[in-house]
């Protein structure tokens, strides 16, 4: 059973919702954050416009599964939440159908500016109808594919031959009056009786009214909503006929006896229908039936709309070309895929020239395209400027971290916890990982210098027990740093256990001794390792467990090209379950000029923010990462 169905706007307002079981709002909030804002889980898992719910990957949050679809131009999201244990195959269909209906009914209201009001309380009825219809199909047939209104339509029209396409309900009724008696037995026979065994066989009265009617209605409704029929017609049944009603309507002779009645009945219905749509006689029923037909109309028209391509004459296309040229200059042009294709590819090339990995460039291109499809350009705005603007927004969104990072403040919280919190003061542990030769030790020293200037006690741990000279190199750094910061009041020591030991145990011992000696920060250097060497990478998991660093930073070179994506991915995944990188340091940014694409590649690959960039050879040449700076450099086309 469905837990919740919600229709919400991208601005966060819930337009319509139906809840069957308590679902924490945080589930949908997390869903929005992960899928739409942070675009986690793969390249363009993000919202593809107007895609069917079946193609959108379901979002799973503890015990719940979310199926969703998204209409971009109106900015509305449709979400269905249900328990993961239940395999509800019809939810996709429900989400899609409701999307079509909702957009058809309330699309105009949604386009109004400066308001969040949408009057859609009537949508309850449509929702109930769809839910019933789809649920019952699966309940009676047990089949995975829910019958769609259109399919039944086709069978009918095939049956009756040359009928103009009426709305489903109407068509059927008119057919009945024309050649009622002759047709009926055959149709009855041809229909496999999908009698609602699953629906309640409640009162005998129910069944009474059910029988004669069913013969008429069966053809159209058989597949869709068996359980409803019983309830629907019982009032009528009571009113008109009490006697000689056979439950066994599969037999031909019986149906002949009731044929006349049926014929009479159907004409009665017709007169009722034509005069009043849902008034006086059995009001509730007719209203319901209208709704069904209306829903099917909407779905059918949407279907046909999507299948027929708009063809315009020579004159029309000529006019539209002139119009689009005119719009191109003046602005106010509605962008289509064709308009965008060429400039977008140009933008992609531009990004690749800036050393962005093709994978990331393609993702950016796609998300910009997604953003721009159907958008109107502003006055006197060319497509290129519009694309540039959108790319700027996209890049900014991608590179901006979810929560801003203030390293000093973080350290302060750990080393000097406030009186309220129960945590004990302990040193703040940072470790640095990366591929060989990217500048791990150098960047560690730079961070160390920065911390020392803030009067902290730092312990540098020589975790590289492998490469010759690694320990000595760190010793030299520490000696230099000591001399440099003597005046400022920082204090730095080195912790080393020589070569050949296990780096993880060295790190653990270092953290222990730092805790007992009251250091503020522990900086752990590690050996460089090739990211696709399984043996070396597996050590990292143990390292993360034993040293348990507050921050694991990875150093990436700005010089590296396409490999950056794989590097970042492999390192990010190497710390075991539930532990990822906390940030990147991009070194050697001074050597690449404008080509800072590596930044984008690694953030694309991992969703982990860049914290620092190395911009020179000296201890002081480390900078906080500024998104604006990076975006400017990336879009700079000189």
């Amino acid at each position: 059973m469905l837990d919740t169905f919600e229709i919400l706007t991208t601005s966060g307002v819930v337009l319509w919702s139906r809840s069957y079981a308590q679902v924490s709002p945080s589930i949908i909030n997390n869903f929005i954050t992960d899928v739409f804002i942070e675009e986690k889980g793969g390249a363009i898992a993000g919202a593809k416009n107007n895609q069917s719910a079946a193609q959108n990957p379901p979002y799973k949050a503890d015990q719940h599964t979310l199926k969703w679809t998204f209409v971009k131009e109106l900015g509305i999201i449709f979400v269905a939440v249900y328990r993961s244990l239940l395999h509800l195959s019809w939810v996709d269909k429900l989400v899609d159908n409701l999307k079509t209906i909702f957009v058809d009914l309330y699309g105009d209201q949604l386009k109004k500016p400066n308001t969040t009001l949408v009057h859609c309380h009537k949508f309850d009825g449509y929702f109930d109808q769809q839910l019933r219809e789809l649920e019952s199909t699966t309940a009676t047939k047990g089949a995975p594919a829910p019958a769609f209104a259109l399919e039944t339509d086709e069978t009918i029209s095939g049956n009756l031959g040359d009928e103009p396409p009426f709305p489903p309900g109407l068509k059927h009724r008119s057919a009945k009056t024309q050649d009622g008696a002759h047709d009926l037995p055959s149709t009855v026979e041809s229909t496999p009786i999908a009698t609602p065994t699953s629906s309640r066989p409640s009162t005998p009265g129910d069944a009474e009214g059910f029988c004669p009617y069913v013969i008429g209605r069966r053809v159209f409704r058989q597949e869709k909503k068996a359980p409803k029929k019983g309830r629907k017609w019982d009032a009528d049944g009571f009113a008109d006929e009490e006697d000689d009603v056979q439950l066994d309507y599969s037999a031909a002779p019986n149906s002949i006896t009731s044929d006349s009645e049926v014929e009479g009945r159907s004409t009665v219905i017709d007169s009722v229908d034509s005069s009043t749509w849902g008034t006086k006689t059995s009001k509730g029923q007719f209203v319901l039936r209208d709704l069904d037909d209306e829903v099917h109309d909407i779905l059918a028209s949407a279907q046909s709309k999507s299948s027929t391509t708009t063809k315009s004459g020579l004159v029309g296309s000529g006019l539209s070309t002139i119009n689009s040229l005119f719009r191109n200059v003046v602005g106010g042009k509605t962008l289509t895929k064709e308009d965008l294709a060429k400039p977008m590819d140009g933008m992609k090339e531009h990004l690749i020239k800036k050393n962005v990995a093709p994978e990331a460039a393609v993702r950016l291109r796609d998300s910009v395209e997604k953003e721009l499809l159907g958008v109107k350009t502003g006055s006197f705005e060319s497509i290129d400027t519009r694309i540039k603007k959108a790319m700027e927004v996209c890049l900014t969104k991608m590179l901006t971290p979810t929560s801003s990072l203030d390293l000093l403040r973080d350290i302060e919280l750990v080393t000097r916890p406030s009186g309220f919190s129960s945590q004990k003061a302990r040193p703040y542990v940072m470790s640095i990982v990366g591929v060989n030769g990217v500048g791990k030790s150098t960047n560690l020293s730079k961070i160390c210098y920065f911390l020392l200037q803030n009067k902290m006690r730092v312990l540098v741990v020589a975790g590289d027990t492998f490469r010759s000279g690694a320990v000595e190199q760190l010793k030299v750094h520490v000696r230099n740093l000591k001399e440099l910061t003597e005046r400022e009041g920082g204090q730095v020591e080195i912790f080393e256990k020589g070569y050949g030991g296990d780096a993880a145990t060295v790190a653990r011992d270092a953290v222990r001794s730092a805790t007992s000696e009251g250091y503020d920060v522990v900086l752990i250097d590690t050996a460089g390792r090739r990211h696709n060497d399984q043996r070396l990478m597996s050590n990292l998991e143990k390292f993360a467990k034993l040293a348990n660093p507050d921050k694991i930073l990875m150093v990436g070179e700005a010089l590296v090209g396409n490999d950056s994506v794989a590097q970042a991915r492999n390192f990010n995944a190497s710390f075991g379950q539930g532990r990822t990188l906390d940030g990147f340091i991009i070194s050697k940014c001074d050597t690449v000029g404008d080509m800072v694409g590596t930044l984008v590649s690694i953030v694309h690959a991992t969703n982990v923010p860049v914290l620092f960039v190395g911009v020179g050879q000296h201890y002081s040449d480390i900078r906080n990462f500024s998104v604006r700076w990076a975006v400017e450099k990336l879009l700079n086309s000189s």
Binding site: S11, T115, T116, G332, L408, I622, S626
Partner: protein, 287 residues
């Protein structure tokens, strides 16, 4: 039977021969084309000059909920994380002290003034819009910074960080102006939402906590690294660029912002209980 070619030639000859209909049509084109272009262009750019109030704050504070409450007038509806900004048009009475419930009605007494209330997404990745609108938005009359007073203890650092950014942007807006004409004052209301919850802090405590945290952030930022892209030359002239409030002062108080024409008020309230009249009045006074 003339061939199409001959027809065309005939037609062109007709157009090029001076005659009354040709003059009339030509004159019409000359007059109408600029008008049509004008209409065309103005249509696509709606003319907005309504004063506006921007809602900012960390996610989950209740910005969108407040928006819906003020628009509907009866109760807030359920909301989720926003991804795009949303503005609504509200009317406020100029001469009478009305509650928001009365103001939302069509037949509210007194003189009215329209304004836009702009909701911005609070998610860290989407704060650009809010920050841009603080600097560039025309007719900005006030900023409502919403926060969740019930969970402020846990989220103090994140909330204060955002507030710091907002205040700093406003401060720079004032201090960066070189001309003698100071930009119009933009006031900030810190709306401590969710006072209906048991754990919610009262406004005074919210204020002191925020001031303390802002002071700490200010201090640690001043010691922090430079941002990439800031050249060495820029460092000397902009000494106190990133320092919020009175430069060099030991403690931060919101009162220090008055130097920059910024008035900061802190008022508690609750969207779920509909106790937002104090905020409403603050907004109406600023318009």
């Amino acid at each position: 039977m003339p061939t199409p070619m001959e027809q065309l030639i005939e037609y062109i000859e007709y157009i090029l021969t001076p005659s009354t209909p040709v003059f009339v049509v030509g004159a019409l084109i000359v007059v109408l084309v600029p008008i049509i272009v004008h209409i065309f262009v103005t249509q696509s750019t709606p003319y907005t000059s309504l004063p506006s109030v921007v809602l900012v704050g960390p996610p989950g504070a209740g910005k969108t909920a407040l928006l819906t409450l003020l628009e509907r007038g009866d109760a807030a509806i359920s909301t989720h994380t926003s991804q795009v900004p949303q503005s609504i048009e509200l009317t406020v009475s100029v001469d009478q002290h009305l509650s928001f419930r009365e103001a939302v009605k069509d037949d509210a007494p007194g003189e009215h003034k329209k304004f836009l209330l702009v909701d911005t997404p609070g998610h860290g990745k989407l704060r650009n819009f809010a920050m841009d609108s603080l600097v560039a938005r025309e007719g900005l009359k006030g900023i409502v910074f919403m926060l969740d007073a019930a969970t402020l203890d846990e989220n103090l650092a994140a909330t204060a960080n955002y507030l710091y950014e907002v205040l700093l942007a406003l401060q720079k807006r004032v201090s960066s102006v070189k001309t003698s004409k100071t930009p119009s004052a933009i006031n900030v209301l810190i709306a401590a939402n969710k006072s209906d919850l048991f754990t919610a802090l009262p406004a005074t405590l919210v204020k002191s906590n925020l001031e303390a945290e802002l002071g700490r952030i200010r201090k640690s930022r001043s010691k922090g690294l430079l941002a990439s892209g800031v050249g060495i030359d820029d460092v000397d002239n902009g000494e106190n660029d990133d320092w919020l409030g009175e430069y060099g002062s030991e403690k931060f108080t919101f009162g220090q912002m008055q130097e920059f024409n910024l008035e900061v008020d802190i008022v508690g309230g609750s969207v779920t209980e509909g106790k937002v009249d104090k905020w409403w009045h603050w907004v109406s006074e600023r318009l």
